[in-house]
Symmetry: C2
């Protein structure tokens, strides 16, 4: 066995200054934005600047059987990129080049560390965009979006990450480089390993490049609709009615009363009507105006108080209320941010279940939802008590409430996680959703990529 000092010395010998053992850096990579941090301190942070750096790191990791946790911006919400004792934190954040933009083929080739918003700024010059838009898009990277299979606000109309990636370059645990996928619209040569890597949370390899499927910027205006309802169930029913009407909004966000109140306080806005819930809906494209009219009719018929805005800036202001959810929750305490997804028609029933869990477990669960696609973010609020290592862990009664909520989502035909991933926070429920046979099969598949089990051990699959 190599000692930790050996491993760091071997990394330094080939990567020099790119191996970082400063206390601040080692502390920073222990946590993501989930509120959870890893136990202990990793061996080193490697700031890779090239594919070769990643390969060298993995060769040393394999030779010394040292676990590797890949990360970039650290904006994850499931603890999937948290690096702890005995582990190498491999950061691809500095691999942030846009290597190729092809407007004629509607594709771009990028390195994993490019920030989603920076990519889209560069693409806008060509009249193009990459559709995935997680709420973290100003800071999260394309590599992280791919590793988690990120979603966002626009998914019902414009798809998720899996719909927007043609191929990835992947470094395996032993340092070999594979080129997965294709540059073409269609391609069915062999098994679709690109899709397998998307959402695999660092367990199959390190994504060192991606060929992205682009869209042209949507022409025309946008309309933004704000609708207030007496309660969250009425708002959820109204959103289901919009989906059932056949009109496809670009964005349809739901905020319950507790979320709305917290954000209004944070932004020093006038307090909302007590108990009221809100839908914020945006239409785009050539038919934006007509679609907004039709949606306003549906919402009014569902009992909403509706206002339609033609002004893009006013639309952004309305959506900023939704985007302030995370900072607003931080003012209430520590939040365990959950991510269940249910079939769209089950949204009202899922809000009933959340109310039941709040009641039965005596907890507060402010909830927002991407109502257009049935993805909810219940925030379990608690008072954090860091342990001796500074690690925050949700208390048992919060986990009991979360457990109850997860099982309710599964009963409604839903899934544990729509867009954040499993990480460490949801690994104990993974087998409940997959079943023993599928869990075991998935585990054996990861071993074909990583026979020694050095890639992000303990994440996704709890042994």
């Amino acid at each position: 066995m190599s000692t930790p000092a050996d491993v760091v010395a071997q990394l330094r010998a080939v990567l020099g200054e790119r191996v970082d053992t400063s206390p601040a850096s080692l502390a920073a990579v222990r946590a993501d934005k989930s509120g959870h941090a890893a136990s202990g301190t990793p061996l080193a942070v490697v700031h890779a600047t090239s594919v070769a750096d990643v390969q060298q790191t993995l060769r040393i990791a394999s030779a010394t059987r040292t676990p590797v946790v890949t990360r970039a911006a650290g904006t994850g919400l499931a603890g999937g990129a948290n690096a702890g004792a005995g582990e190498i934190a491999l950061s691809v954040r500095r691999m942030d080049r846009i290597l190729e933009v092809r407007p004629d083929d509607l594709l771009a080739v990028v390195e994993p560390g490019v920030v989603n918003a920076d990519l889209n700024t560069a693409l806008a010059e060509h009249g193009l965009w990459w559709a995935p838009d997680p709420a973290s898009r100003a800071t999260s990277t394309v590599g992280g979006n791919i590793a988690t299979g990120a979603g966002g606000l626009l998914c019902a109309k414009y798809g998720v990450v899996r719909d927007a990636v043609l191929g990835v370059d992947l470094v395996l645990a032993d340092g070999r480089l594979l080129h997965l996928g294709h540059r073409t619209v269609k391609g069915v040569t062999g098994l679709d390993l690109t899709s397998l890597v998307i959402g695999s949370e660092g367990t199959l390899g390190v994504v060192v490049g991606a060929t992205l499927k682009l869209r042209r910027l949507v022409p025309g205006e946008v309309r933004t609709i704000a609708a207030t309802f007496p309660g969250v169930r009425a708002a959820a029913e109204a959103s289901a009615a919009v989906t059932a009407s056949g009109v496809q909004p670009a964005i349809m966000e739901l905020m319950d009363a507790a979320s709305l109140a917290a954000v209004h306080r944070l932004l020093s806005l006038e307090p909302p009507t007590p108990g009221a819930a809100q839908l914020t809906i945006q239409t785009d494209g050539p038919a934006a105006g007509l679609e907004a009219e039709r949606i306003a009719e549906v919402l009014t018929a569902a009992g909403g108080t509706v206002a339609v805005s033609h002004d893009r800036a006013e639309g952004e202001r309305l959506l900023a209320i939704r985007r302030s959810m995370h900072p607003a929750m931080e003012t209430l305490g520590t939040a365990l941010i959950e991510d269940v997804s249910v079939p769209r028609s089950a949204l009202p029933a899922m809000f009933d279940e959340i109310a039941r869990v709040e009641r039965e477990h005596g907890v507060v669960i402010p909830t927002v939802a991407h109502a257009g696609d049935g993805n909810l973010h219940p925030n379990f609020i608690f008072d954090a008590v860091p342990d001796e290592f500074g690690v925050i862990e949700a208390p048992a009664h919060i986990w009991a409430a979360a457990d109850d909520l997860f099982r309710a989502a599964l009963r409604l035909g839903g899934t544990l996680t729509g867009e954040h991933g499993v990480g460490v926070l949801k690994r104990r429920w993974l087998v409940d959703e997959l079943g023993e046979d599928q869990w075991d099969l998935q585990r054996r598949i990861t071993r074909q990529f990583d026979p020694l089990g050095i890639l992000n051990p303990g994440k996704v699959f709890a042994d």
Copy 2:
């Protein structure tokens, strides 16, 4: 070892009349629509009518180590479902029920044997459709579409099968049933095994059910544009110009002079101008009219003679010319139908390569292309000489020409197969595209689903 007679007896004992050993049935399952047939005669055809039938068949197959070739309508074009000596042909064609249609959640749950067109007829009553539209849609099944990762005419605008399936139920080689995927718009719980199964051509398990992502029928009119060009390169350049213009047609099909001449002869139409190639383009949705005008301008500027039709029936008549390609090729001899796909901007260069291959190898290669997505179907025409078992195999000089063409597609950033799959016809080139390391990894992944190697052996992966 069990004798073939033992295996059939065991199948009969549990499946009774659903085990078919009539000479006509055994002969029929040796071939698909590729022009290729398996050597020898399979042991039996099992006509499964339930998930339990599939499980029973696979349990017996595993216990006796008998290979299983899953098939349904037999419309494949790569020999992937051809069953030969010593194999069980497991037909899921009779499992053709539509189990659930949910307009509010835009999903349907179906059995694998339902015919694509029959499904869409049923969905139309709800104002819905399933977008994948292989040219075989009148006869091919949803299960076959999933097994091959089928494409079709509408892919650039409406996606491929992988974009239109939320989950599959899969029976493994040992008879266990797994439920893969989810019913929600978003879902990232664990690895995406649903995408792995799509396009896996019967090597991972038997698809016994699928949860499909539906679309609402597109409102508005369609416009159909026919444009004639002096040669195929000019037509290919015009199609690339349409893509580059930013207008997204629903359909954009290209036919070269040889294809056009053969179809016109078959349909007793007036002969086309010698050497002329044709683009047939359709726009749909609320902006169909404006988009057709813009496309007509681009085509005229590119040197085309352009006619726009507002009449849906006339549009169907124009597309029927394209859809008659397969029967027209049959009038010329036996066709080896290829399926390369290249980035859209490389379409003119790929036609240059086809002309070069024709010249250098002295072969005739009538070619059509889904020009909107860069997917070409070159048809290598030859005189068939069946061997002593009635098996048709393309002669060496045809394979040499095909080899040259495949390598050209790879050089242009393309892929071996856009939508037909690898089957037996392209397995010898698989490693050229994937590389040794990825080929080996894919092979090992299949073994996690099928440790004994009884699922469609010899297909996709040539040992």
